[in-house]
Amino acid sequence: MSIFNPDSESPEALAEPQINDASRLFISRKLKELYDTVHEEGIPDRFLDLLEKLDEVERKSGAADSK
């Protein structure tokens, strides 16, 4: 109504039924948990290696270009 807050939906803004706050909290907690399990794994080596390679290729071609 007054201040625009992207994280809050006023029920009147949506002409659809809304779930109650408890369900919403429950679902958002589960979603966070879902992501947390992936975050805990860290970045797999394949991606670190890939970035390293991309970096290397670019450094080499950069060095070649400047000659």
Partner: protein, 188 residues
């Protein structure tokens, strides 16, 4: 190569690394097959690297990468002719009925319920509810109006609530108290 360019590149790589865990979590949650998700992340990294000229350092790396990943995902889906993967048996196995004991609802059930959502709803609730994007950012990532994202998120929540059987207050378990719910029946 100038010193300035060199610094810019390091910065790009650093921002990218910082954004990767969240991007990967989105990919895995969106398509469920970890192998496919990681392949998709890999392609996203390569695309992003090739297009780093179009990224302005210090802007929203997460949103930028997520947009690339999403576009890549849907172009693959289109190519594959909408085959539905059922890696973990999520579609064929039925949701277990939430048990009475503390409304114990494990992560498997939650994943199954999430998998049953239409793609656009799952995507919307992941972007807003888990990736932590504002509705506006999610709308930009998906290339649709903010109202559409809000509506999809709302429908996703309603459907999850229904699938998980968490409509009843008594099924919230021990955490219900912090949410301000009064357990009215005498089951505890």
């Amino acid at each position: 190569m100038t010193v300035h360019e060199e610094t810019g590149e390091r910065e790009f790589k650093r921002e990218m690394l910082a954004a990767l865990p969240n991007l990967r979590a989105f990919a895995i949650s969106l398509i469920r097959s970890r192998d496919k998700a990681d392949d998709l992340v890999q392609e996203t990294i390569m695309k992003a690297w090739a297009n780093q000229g179009s990224y302005r350092p210090g802007t929203n790396m997460r949103a930028w990468l997520t947009t690339i990943l999403r576009n890549e995902f849907y172009s693959q889906v289109r190519k594959a002719g909408r085959e539905v993967e059922d890696v973990d048996g999520v579609y064929t196995s039925r949701l277990s009925v939430p048990s009475e004991q503390n409304g114990a609802l494990d992560m498997q059930d939650f994943k199954k319920a999430l998998a049953l959502l239409p793609d656009d709803q799952r995507e919307a609730i992941l972007l807003v509810g888990a990736s932590g994007f504002a509705y506006e950012e999610a709308a930009q990532i998906c290339g649709c109006p903010v109202g559409t994202i809000k509506s999809r998120v709302n429908r996703a929540r309603l459907r999850l609530q229904e699938l998980l059987g968490i409509t009843s207050e008594t099924e919230f378990g021990p955490d219900a108290r912090e949410t301000g719910i009064t357990v009215s029946t005498g089951t505890r």
